[in-house]
């Protein structure tokens, strides 16, 4: 038996063992599964076992882009307007103050940290710092598994939804601002025009696919049409050097609000969302490569800054909006889980030919996911149980 074959067997057995073990851990300690896929990806990747070589990773680039588009569409599908307007406006105000404060605080701290740690000028590190700010604003939807009607659960859900949407929008528009120059006729396209194209792909794409899907009822056919739409929008964005997250987010939001098959679309999206999340984690693990910079300090700083920002911003938001009577002072602990969107933004940043510390940004997001996957749900559960 060749060494490569032995290695493949080891990886397969490691996957199965890890999965069974995590099944038990998830039941026993309420740890969200996911970290094993990230670790498996790292194990398979070019910097560990090398089963997935650099060439294989490059070949997989279109699939990684697709996983990003799918993530965007899944977030977009959470924005069903008739349901959203039933949520009291104070929840939106609280969420907006929370994610804006987190975004600004983390961006500022990381800007200073990058400039100091890597001896860059501020203008050079604006892009990675704001990207990490956007990643920090995103929150995993840990509260979605609760069905009880309680202000804390509604607030956590609202914050997770809005935070993720804000993170996707901020990052995608940021890429439009720093887009490489593309000449059309005698001049280059402006940032506003790139932003218009980015939004246009999503809105026009969403509308066309609403018409395309029509009254289709059969789930298999609906799935193929939806997958085609997301693949096409992801591909168009990647081809134009834009992030697929925002266009696909808009496709998801358009479809869920206009289609008569909303329930079936949401059900299908939910059934694929988790495997797609795991695939994203696998890709992310394999895609990871150690930075040539001294990355440990910025990564640890990011995790601490985000935690502090989330806790502080949540408290500030509750006080400033006047919802402190409904929410406890430490409701921000329910927002600590990082989730898919943060990792997707980091991956999109690295895939988009980013030249400034892409591996540091990616490693920071990955560590944050690893840590929050281990403790996020448990902390959120404790909070919800205490409040109930």
């Amino acid at each position: 038996m060749s060494a490569a074959l032995s290695l493949t067997f080891v990886v397969l057995v490691a996957y199965l063992a890890a999965h069974v073990l995590f099944d038990w851990l998830a039941r026993r300690f309420q740890i969200v599964s996911g970290a094993e896929y990230l670790l498996l990806g790292i194990l398979l990747g070019p910097h560990a076992a090398g089963v997935m070589s650099q060439h294989v990773i490059q070949t997989l680039a279109p699939f990684m882009t697709l996983a990003l588009g799918w993530t965007g569409a899944a977030v977009g599908m959470q924005f069903y307007v008739p349901r959203l307007i039933q949520v009291p406006v104070d929840h939106y105000k609280t969420a907006t103050v929370e994610f804006t404060t987190t975004f600004l605080f983390v961006s500022a701290v990381m800007l200073a940290a990058f400039a100091w740690a890597f001896d860059f000028e501020y203008r050079q590190v604006i892009l990675p710092a704001i990207t990490l700010g956007a990643i920090a604003a995103a929150t995993a939807s840990a509260a979605f598994s609760y069905t009880e009607d309680h202000p804390i659960i509604t607030q956590l859900e609202t914050s997770a939804r809005l935070g993720s949407a804000f993170a996707i929008t901020a990052f995608s528009l940021l890429l439009c601002i720093v887009h490489v120059e593309v000449a059309v006729g005698s001049r280059n396209l402006t940032a506003a025009e790139w932003a218009l194209i980015c939004v246009g792909i999503g809105v026009v794409g969403g509308t066309l696919f609403h018409l395309f899907i029509g009254r289709e009822q059969k789930s298999d056919r609906l799935f193929i049409a939806m997958a085609g739409a997301i693949i096409l929008c992801s591909g168009a964005s990647a081809y134009l050097r834009l992030s697929p997250l925002l266009p696909c987010f808009l496709v998801g939001a358009t479809l869920v609000n206009t289609s008569s098959n909303r329930a079936e679309l949401q059900r299908m999206m939910a059934s694929v969302e988790k495997p797609m999340y795991f695939a994203l984690l696998l890709f992310a693990g394999a895609f990871w490569s150690p930075s040539r910079y001294d990355w440990l300090l910025p990564v640890v700083l990011y995790v601490f800054t985000r935690t502090a920002a989330k806790l502080g911003a949540a408290r500030l938001a509750a006080r400033s909006v006047g919802s402190a009577s409904l929410l406890t002072a430490n409701w921000g602990t329910g927002l600590l889980a990082q989730g898919t969107v943060g990792l997707a933004i980091a991956m999109s940043y690295s895939l988009n030919d980013a030249e400034v510390v892409p591996n540091v940004v990616f490693t920071a997001a990955m560590f944050s996911v690893l840590i929050s996957d281990l403790f996020g749900l448990r902390i959120a559960s404790l909070l919800v149980q205490r409040e109930n």
Binding site: T8, T59, D220, I224, L240
Partner: protein, 425 residues
């Protein structure tokens, strides 16, 4: 009509963004790939509306939008997503194995072997004779000696007898047919995969005794035996592990199916065993060794994962058909295809009588054996490399025969199921 109009709008949109993007094949691949899925889906729907199989529509879309005609899906884009094609083949084989039931295999395998002996034997002889008769019109062998003509005909006939497990499974998944005709067709086609693989290897080895290889040569008999026996061993081990795993967990079975297809294909490649047979055995063992509720969930998970891959696989198969080459050799190919139909029909009748099989499954079985796809293409590529001087003509002829059977096979199989009363006509 509405969908076709939207497709035109999308085509127009692609033309607008084309000058604004980068020319890297990787980034272009996803764009064209997404378009191909929607185009294939639309043409598939149109095909369904006129009572043709959707698979036919998928392939037609591949031909129309592929490099042979509109070139929206370029050769570079096809190459870029070739790994997806590999995964599709692995998934299709895994699903095929998962659909097989031990009871049916145990009870019917001797009957299947009898049918295949008659059908494949007669088709091989028929194709061989036709190719020899047509050889004066085939440029590369027109003035060749008898040995070269014999070798050419033996190899091409070995490609002509192949069937398509992918097309069979694709139609069964599309129509949800599960009656006796569907089960018999699936059983015969899957058994033929091993049968024909052995036949092809024997022929590829045998022709080199007549005329020594001037190219890569074919693998030795020992290696071939390992490819078959090793595939069963490797597939059984992986399937056993999966069956054991399924006893304890039913989480993320769709993802598990994808991972098994990926890893199984890689293990088969590394062990130099036949990939299709490995994944087929994996699916079979996983779903039959320790059957449980989780096994059914696993089968549904793999089915769900494989559905979009059918669209991709057949659309890409259509896009890969070299239309210009097929046109240039049509006069030689049509008689071969006609003889193949006749011999499959006759051989199947003899075979079913020998196996004491009666009723609609026996009567319409021949229609399910017409389709050809991946297996035959693989054989053609290997055969063309044995004699490089015959290779280009051999490849063109073989691909043209496969293309015709690939297009019309699914239509006939769907008709067979309708005639057997297992689907709506």
């Amino acid at each position: 009509m509405r969908r076709a109009l939207i497709l035109l709008l999308l085509l127009w949109g692609m033309a607008i963004i084309e000058p604004l993007g980068r020319s890297a094949p990787a980034s272009q691949a996803l764009l064209t790939f997404g378009f191909l899925i929607l185009a294939a889906y639309t043409v598939g729907e149109i095909a369904r509306a006129v009572r043709l199989p959707m698979l036919f529509g998928y392939m037609l879309a591949g031909i129309v939008f592929g490099p042979s005609l509109l070139n929206i899906v370029t050769r570079a884009a096809i190459a870029q997503v070739s790994s997806l094609n590999q995964l599709a083949i692995s998934l299709i084989a895994l699903l095929a194995g998962a659909e097989l039931e031990w009871k049916a295999v145990r009870g019917e395998s001797i009957g299947y072997l009898k049918i295949l002996t008659a059908e494949v034997g007669l088709t091989y002889v028929g194709a061989f004779v036709t190719i020899v008769v047509l050889s004066p019109h085939i440029p590369v062998v027109a003035n060749a000696d008898k040995t070269t003509v014999t070798v050419f005909a033996m190899l091409l006939a070995a490609v002509v007898v192949a069937h398509s497990p992918a097309a069979t499974l694709g139609i069964l998944t599309e129509t949800k047919a599960s009656g006796p005709a569907a089960k018999t067709a699936l059983g015969v086609v899957l058994t033929s995969d091993i049968f024909i693989f052995l036949l092809f290897t024997l022929v590829a080895t045998g022709v080199q005794l007549l005329m020594p290889s001037s190219g890569a040569g074919s693998p030795g008999l020992g290696l071939v035996l390992w490819e078959v026996v090793g595939a069963v061993i490797v597939g059984t081990i992986i399937g056993g592990v999966v069956a054991f795993y399924l006893r304890f967990s039913q989480r993320d079975l769709l993802l598990l199916g994808l991972i098994i297809a990926l890893l199984g294909g890689e293990i088969a490649r590394l062990s130099h065993v036949e990939i299709l047979l490995t994944l087929l055995t994996t699916g079979f063992v996983a779903c039959n060794v320790m059957p449980s509720e989780n096994t059914i969930h696993f089968r549904h998970g793999v089915e769900r994962a494989a559905t979009p891959f059918f669209v991709v696989f057949f659309a890409l198969a259509g896009a890969s058909i070299p239309l210009a080459e097929v046109r240039s050799v049509l006069i030689i190919v049509v008689p071969i295809v006609v003889v193949r139909y006749i011999t499959i029909w006759t051989g199947t009748r003899w075979g079913t009588r020998w196996a004491d099989m009666t009723g609609p499954p026996a009567k319409h079985l021949w229609m399910s054996l017409i389709a050809q796809a991946g297996v035959a293409i693989g054989f053609a590529s290997v055969a063309a490399e044995i004699y490089p001087e015959l290779g280009p003509t051999f490849r063109t002829l073989a691909f043209a025969v496969i293309a015709m059977n690939e297009l019309f096979g699914p239509i006939l199989f769907r008709r067979a199921l309708a005639k057997a009363g297992e689907i709506e006509p």
